[in-house]
């Protein structure tokens, strides 16, 4: 078959009338690899970014409250560090996602918007709930115990819920969402001070571990 037929003005430089099966397989594989490289969000990078935020942010807060009697809460320097890390990580994450998602429209674009909105709404709702607890008479350690679990609770729930809209079973997302929820709920039982250490270690190391095994899990 002459592939040149029907093309316009001789501009079609890439028509190959003869492409043997080996050549076709090579083109197919190269195109798949390239598409994956260009269009897939590099999730191990995202996981690493957030592992650092969780480990350093919670770790710094834990260092500033350990040994407090009575409990007064994290030092402002630790809170500022956690906040700055969060802002920097959010910016870096947006950059990583934009790099892959540039030019991609349709359902995924809508899902990304809803995902970001769900995170913001979750944070806002639970922060308001924390203030309500304080207003209702909850002590500072109780509201702190609840407040410091909010980031892990919200992220875990939104990650788990977002699996429902994925086109196929997303094991890494399912696993990390479930893990963050388990760490948030289980860590709270360690108390207001020790829970920060649990969140830093179990949360941070768990996310970092996911960064390492994500490619294998995704393929399974």
């Amino acid at each position: 078959m002459n592939e040149e037929s029907g093309t316009t003005g001789g501009t079609d430089m890439d028509e190959s009338p003869v492409l043997d099966p080996q050549g076709a397989a090579a083109v197919l594989q190269q195109a798949r690899d390239r598409a994956r490289r260009e269009l897939a969000v590099r999730r191990p990078v995202l996981f690493l970014i957030w592992a650092v935020v969780v480990f350093v942010g919670y770790g710094a807060m834990w260092l500033s409250v350990r040994g407090q009697h009575p409990y007064r809460g994290p030092a402002w320097e630790a809170l500022l560090l956690a906040f700055l890390l969060f802002v920097a990580a959010a910016g870096a994450s947006a950059n990583v996602v934009d790099r892959a998602a540039s030019g991609v429209g349709g359902r995924s674009e809508l899902q990304r918007g809803i995902f970001a909105l769900a995170l913001l709404a979750g944070f806002a709702a639970l922060e308001i709930e924390k203030q309500a607890l304080a207003t209702a008479g909850a002590s500072r350690p109780v509201t702190a115990l609840f407040g410091q679990a909010i980031p892990l609770l919200v992220a875990g729930l939104v990650l788990l819920a977002s699996c429902a809209t994925a086109s196929r079973l997303d094991w890494p997302r399912l696993a990390i969402g479930g893990w963050l929820l388990a760490v948030a709920a289980g860590g709270a039982w360690a108390g207001v001070v020790a829970s920060l250490a649990v969140y830093a270690l179990a949360g941070g190391v768990g996310i970092a571990l996911m960064a390492a095994i994500e490619p294998q899990l995704r393929r399974s």
Binding site: M1, E3, G6, T7, T8, G9, T11, D12, M13, D14, E15, S16, V18, L19, D20, P21, Q22, A24, A25, V27, L28, Q30, A31, R32, R34, A35, R36, E38, L39, A40, S102, G103, V104, G105, G106, R107, S108, E109, S167
Partner: protein, 102 residues
């Protein structure tokens, strides 16, 4: 003959790359013309020519949104195109298996 068994619309390097690239997106997603051109590495003229052939076969859809500098041409793989690529890879695998000695 081998070439008769493989879908002639896809069995061209440029179009094979286009279809595979679009198939990497989840169903329901599309890719802008400029990003597709960037990923595939074709000139706009070449890409238009190949997209027209794929469109004629019902394998892709192209839709222009907006106007002026905000204009965006979205290219998406249809269900027919996705099925055609699946068939193509199946036939290709069979051909490669049958060509393997032993």
């Amino acid at each position: 003959m081998i070439n008769e068994e493989l879908d002639p619309v896809i069995h061209v390097p440029a179009r094979l790359r286009i279809v595979v690239t679009l198939a990497a997106l989840p169903p329901g997603d599309d890719l802008s013309f400029t990003r597709l051109q960037d990923v595939i590495g074709l000139t706009p003229g070449n890409l238009i020519t190949h997209l027209r052939k794929l469109d004629d076969a019902g394998y892709v859809t192209t839709e222009k949104n907006g106007s002026g500098v905000s204009a965006r041409t979205a290219v998406a793989l249809t269900n027919t195109g996705r099925a055609a690529l699946d068939r193509y890879t199946t036939v290709l695998r069979q051909l490669l298996d049958s060509a393997t000695p032993g």
